[in-house]
């Protein structure tokens, strides 16, 4: 929760396990084979500065900077949103999921990045998985992986690593 990771190495796997009201935000530059995943927890930082990936309004520019620094090209960037469920029907965490999704969309619009796929809402938890050079997928507990965007390009050039983005 509140972490992010970026990779440009084919075969690397970035995973956020068990997203409830949180959002797994992916920014990908497909031709360059670069992708990043941020685990967003709340819609607004409200004056907080750290951890940047925790808050939608800071996470979007932070992830964008990191993907550009890794060699991504701004006009080619595509965004995918996963999570933002309404796990509970009463209580304080009631609509955090929907507010998170809205805040991420708004921040992406401000940054001029288009959303190409989205798997948000509902009342079930999801796992977001990004395989660099492979695909971006979403998976419900006990369900199959649903591919949201193919990132297919070249073969892995080295032994891939897996990163859990908590």
């Amino acid at each position: 929760m509140g972490e992010l990771a970026v990779s440009g190495r084919a075969g690397d796997e970035l995973v956020a396990i068990g997203l409830g009201s949180c959002i797994g935000l992916v920014l990908a530059d497909r031709p360059a084979g670069i992708a990043g995943l941020a685990h967003v927890v709340l819609p607004e930082a409200q004056g907080k500065l750290e951890p940047r990936a925790k808050f939608a309004d800071l996470a979007v520019p932070e992830l964008l900077d990191r993907v550009l620094a890794a060699g991504g090209v701004r006009r080619r960037l595509e965004a995918v949103l996963i999570g933002g469920a309404r796990m509970f029907s009463v209580g304080a965490s009631l609509d955090i999921g929907a507010r998170n999704a809205e805040a991420v969309r708004a921040a992406l619009e401000r940054a001029g990045v288009r959303i190409v796929a989205e798997e948000t809402g509902g009342n079930r938890g999801r796992t977001a998985r990004v395989i660099v050079g492979g695909e971006i997928s979403s998976q419900l507990a006990g369900g199959p992986r649903t591919a949201l965007l193919s990132l297919a390009a070249g073969r892995p050039s080295r032994t891939p690593i897996a990163v859990q983005v908590a």
Partner: protein
């Protein structure tokens, strides 16, 4: 402020959790007519990302019984039971697991344990804490815990978790009982024990 909790303060919170979950274990034992063992509770104050991992494997499927807590120190009570344990609880109560009635019985267990725990905590600290209606969901542990923590911790960096384990003797059923106080409320729990002075 929970980031600056001392070992002494965490010890005191662990002791509060120990006594409160003892009361909860007694009510569970009376409800089920079975002996209930209580392990020494854990108290940890961790960054959000680590707090979920400390609660268990995020990819594990669990049944969660969640109650929002209102009053002087708001927060949440969360009981986590592996699906097999939830089925055991239902059969001990004579209801079908995985049904609406089964879930409602699990919610009732959450109600009784939550009320007993919070009442004991209130009587020791003088802090009013009242449980709300329970909700029962089965999903990934990570999704359940992170959603409850996001609500309880809010803009704070550190999550405080008091985690007690209740085991029903002779049954493969371990219930993890967690109290997740809102970040700002921890001082109110410690102040009556003379272990907290407001600094800001």
């Amino acid at each position: 402020m929970t980031g600056s909790l001392t070992d002494l303060q965490l010890d005191a919170l662990r002791e509060l959790a120990n006594i409160s979950s003892g009361t909860a274990a007694t009510s569970l034992s009376q409800l089920l007519g079975r002996e209930v063992d209580l392990n020494v509770p854990k108290a940890f104050a961790l960054p959000l990302a680590d707090a979920v991992d400390a609660a268990g494997d995020p990819a594990q499927e669990v049944t969660g019984i969640a109650l929002a807590v209102e009053g002087d120190v708001p927060g949440a009570v969360l009981l986590l039971v592996p699906p097999a344990g939830a089925a055991t609880l239902c059969s001990l109560l004579g209801v079908e697991p995985g049904t609406e009635v089964g879930d409602s019985a699990l919610g009732e267990i959450g109600n009784i344990l939550g009320a007993a725990y919070l009442m004991a905590l209130s009587s020791m600290t003088g802090v009013q804490m009242l449980p709300s209606t329970p909700q029962v969901i089965t999903d990934l542990l990570g999704a359940i815990v992170s959603t409850v923590l996001a609500g309880a911790v809010g803009h704070g960096d550190i999550a405080l978790v008091l985690d007690s384990e209740l085991d029903i003797t002779g049954e493969p059923c371990a219930i993890s009982f967690m109290l997740l106080p809102d970040a700002d409320g921890v001082g109110d729990l410690l102040a009556p024990l003379g272990l907290f002075e407001a600094t800001d």
